[in-house]
Amino acid sequence: MPAVSKGDGMRGLAVFISDIRNCKSKEAEIKRINKELANIRSKFKGDKALDGYSKKKYVCKLLFIFLLGHDIDFGHMEAVNLLSSNKYTEKQIGYLFISVLVNSNSELIRLINNAIKNDLSSRNPTFMCLALHCIANVGSREMAEAFASEIPRILVAGDTMDSVKQSAALCLLRLYKTSPDLVLMGEWTSRVVHLLNDQHMGVVTAAISLITCLSQKNPDEFKTCVSLAVSRLSRIVSSASTDLQDYTYYFVPAPWLSCKLLRLLQCYPPPEDGAVKGRLVECLETILNKAQEPPKSKKVQHSNAKNAILFEAISLIIHYDSEPNLLVRACNQLGQFLQHRETNLRYLALESMCTLASSEFSHEAVKTHIETVINALKTERDVSVRQRAADLLYAMCDRSNAKQIVAEMLSYLETADYSIREEMVLKVAILAEKYAVDYSWYVDTILNLIRIAGDYVSEEVWYRVIQIVINRDDVQGYAAKTVFEALQAPACHENMVKVGGYILGEFGNLIAGDPRSSPLVQFNLLHSKFHLCSVPTRALLLSAYIKFINLFPETKATIQEVLRCDSQIRNSDVELQQRAVEYLKLSSIASTDVLATVLEEMPPFPERESSILAKLKKKKGPGAVSASELDDSRREGGAELNGGGGADRVPDTATTVASTASTPSPSADLLGIRSAAPIGASSTNAGSLLVDVFSEAGPAAAAAAAAAAAAAANDDDGFLSSAPPSEDPAPPLSEADELLNKFVCKNNGVLFENQLLQIGIKSEYRQNLGRMYLFYGNKTSVQFASFSTAVSCPGDISAQLNVQTKPVEPLVEGGAQIQQVLNIECLTDFSEAPLLNIKFRYGGALQNITLKLPVTINKFFQPTEMTSHDFFQRWKQLSQPQQEAQKIFKANHNMDTEVLKAKLLGLGTALLENVDPNPENYVCAGVIQTKSQQVGCLLRLEPNGQAQMYRLTLRCSKDSVSSRLCDLLALQF
């Protein structure tokens, strides 16, 4: 076997690579690479002309450095020079460098094109292949201009070698994709189709990709490929595994080629020619039969390859959607896979069955697997598989099983992964609406949805339930009763309050006969939730209240009282305030008749596409919800929901009253009173009072969304929009100060902890010196790479503190802990804390954490014992105003004596007994040791147990120390 030690093997490169591999840290690696880059640069710039071998070696090193993730900004010229070498290895490295590093608009393209031209005409097949690869990889416009006419000729020429044909086919595909206008159809096109008959399987494999792409764009011109593909497929499928020796993979004949042929056939409808069709059906049957045969090998590769073909065949069967027999067989086959022990197969079966469910021939067959799928939803350990199961349940749902499926999805929702909850909620809402036979079930389902997953219920969902309740007389009483009951729960979701408020405001009268839900009870129930709600909900509730005044005159006094109170009529939110003012006025001025007209029951909504379906479509992107599904829901919705007529009952007076409103509504106002101005204008739309309710995008917005989606799809980099991670230390965590404060009175403990990392601290201080032990624990089972820590003293601290440490090992094994020692010297007093930055890679992602190192000035205290007399004498000496710092603050912690004493001792000072005349008070004394000076400090803490307050006074010989200590300590008690 070839090894690196060959004459050709570039020893220098091998040495360099071992060096890099032996680098212990990222820094060492960068250092080694920079050294090498400098070396290569000087070689390239040197006077001495380099021979081909050295050029190749250096270009190869650059390539390697690039692949390690470093930017390369030179060497392109040398790589281009290598192209004209006659030695294969040199040429190959040159081309490789260019394919990997040159993007399509480089100015070097002309030079490269020249070299390619020479190689293409060289008649040397290996050189031709290299050149073709390069065109395919770079694929720029200029290359297309230069070679678009040349390549088809090479592809179909009789004397072209097989390997060159393969490269030429893929090369042409690339040019056709980047510059279709330059690739002219012509005499070659028919000959390309006949490559399907080529005796060499590799050529067929390559040509199929090209033909598939061409037939998608010009189906008629390439129609003949169908019969050719069928006969080729038939020959492969019916061959014994030994016939295609070289292209047999674990006893499966030419699996990749088979898949590609089946894929090509999916570009066309079923063949019209009976003979061709018969042959194809035979092939598909054979493939299905083979799945049932005992495997020829126990290797997983064998079954995977076989199943790859099977899944592709099933795709084709679904695509044709015309052979009931095959569809049902496919469904049964997939049903077997649903219980297979391979997760991959279960995933693919669920996915594939989803499309089968939409065929009228196999829908019933899919439905028989409902129990298995429900079980998958409950027991699969992989969220992506569960997601597929949920999709399939959604797809197989119809009137007969809707109740069961919705119930299962609802119960799954209680434990569903957060990532898919919103989509699940939409799906449940859509199914409940689409297949509702009795609408009380529908109302129950949606209210359950809000109860279980209220946070994920979007506006569209609760708008929709209200639309439906309003449009259907027979469910209104039930809805009122149900929301009333749901609102009894002590904690109910805000969305429930919204739906409840709206429905009771409209239909509360339907249940008011029962004394348990009398008008006042209803009102009190709603109002009990009022204060916990956000502004839009409160606005909605206020509208519900005014509706109550109309429905139940006996509540008028109570409600007016509520509206009149300061928290409403003087609310700082203008929207709420205005509603309160106007509703109050309206209820006191307007006669009962006017009130009844203004606050008339909402007219039915004009039926349009379900806003929820629109939302799901938007979420999944166009095409995710099939067109038939949309038609379906529109048809059913139209028939069942829009109980006919009634839409022109626009309460005109409402608009008159509301047009006095001056502020536009910031909220979705279901009662419509506020959204006056636009409504008055657009009287053509009968239901437009509820314009806010429909958040569905109009045609213009939908078009814009589609355009945006298309733009994103065209943008090759669309999936890469986030910025690369910064290597700079992150700013300190928001909780850094809080973490720091935990350590003012103690020296040991856990400084920081997240899901990956735990940092523990032990520290000891003497005089002006301190030693801190940091323990970094890896909480995961995966190694941390490039682990590094850095202590920095930004700003003034650099002159106040001296922190020394040694670098840590760059690798922290899973579950391991490493230790780092910091030596700290206090030069003079300081206020800020040094920063500790920790960086490492976890699974490739850079983690970057910055904390404040818990070094505070009090750590350098030496306790000083003194008598009462001495204390007060010194206290008086330190009487200059700036020497004293005082704070009066509320107790944050327990005021227990022992706890306080422990904290004061932890501070590092001496706690002086019998000094203060008031035994409740605490006094302490100490000297802060810094290298430059000593600072004497006296402390007095006066608790007031009754008021839960403290007064803290500090007097120090240096004023900056007083204020710093005072700030630090005020947070401790």
Binding site: M1, P2, V4, K6, I17, R21, C60, L63, F64, L67, L68, D71, Y88, T89, Q92, N103, T126, A136, S163, Q166, S167, L170, L173, R174, G202, T205, A206, S209, Y247, Y249, A254, L257, C259, Q301, N304, A305, N307, A308, F311, N344, Y347, L348, D382, S384, V385, A712, D716, D717, G718, F719, L720, P724, V782, Q783, A785, R841, G843, G844, A845, L846
Partner: protein, 140 residues
């Protein structure tokens, strides 16, 4: 079609990357880190196909080496999954030593098998033909 092929180790370091759709150099590191994290965090019993943004990742693990292939929606997952294995078997057949030392050759092999995002050759002997020719040349 295939969007890119990555070979990464357990630490998430990229050993080989080949893109079949242009991705700006500056964005590759971020993309690769993201993709690798996505695959490394999965357990063995989870399936080998991951939906990632608007495409799918198909990955396979060989000891400490992960091979990740990103494909567009319409690609046959199992066939790509086995393509990876086929590729690894070719590497096994050719190399007796650490692949890192022969990255250029790994590239040649990959280029023989996948071009432009499409499978072009699956026969092991033919994949290795250019390299064998090359080695003969060097020996001679």
């Amino acid at each position: 079609m295939i969007k890119f092929v990555l070979m990464v180790n357990r630490q998430g370091q990229t050993r080989l990357s080949r893109y079949y759709q242009p991705v700006e150099l500056s964005r590759r590191a971020q993309l690769e880190a993201d993709v690798v994290r996505c695959c490394l965090s999965r357990r063995r019993e989870q399936c080998s196909f991951v939906e990632y943004k608007d495409f799918k990742l198909i990955y396979r693990q060989y000891a400490a080496l992960f091979i990740v292939v990103a494909v567009t929606e319409n690609e046959n997952e199992l066939s790509v999954y086995e393509l990876v294995h086929n590729f690894v078997e070719v590497l096994d057949k050719y190399f007796s030593r650490v692949i890192m030392f022969n990255l250029d050759r790994v590239h040649i092999i990959l280029d023989e098998m996948i071009q432009n995002g499409h499978v072009v050759e699956t026969n092991r002997n033919r994949v290795l033909a250019p390299l064998s020719a090359l080695d003969k040349l060097a020996d001679g």
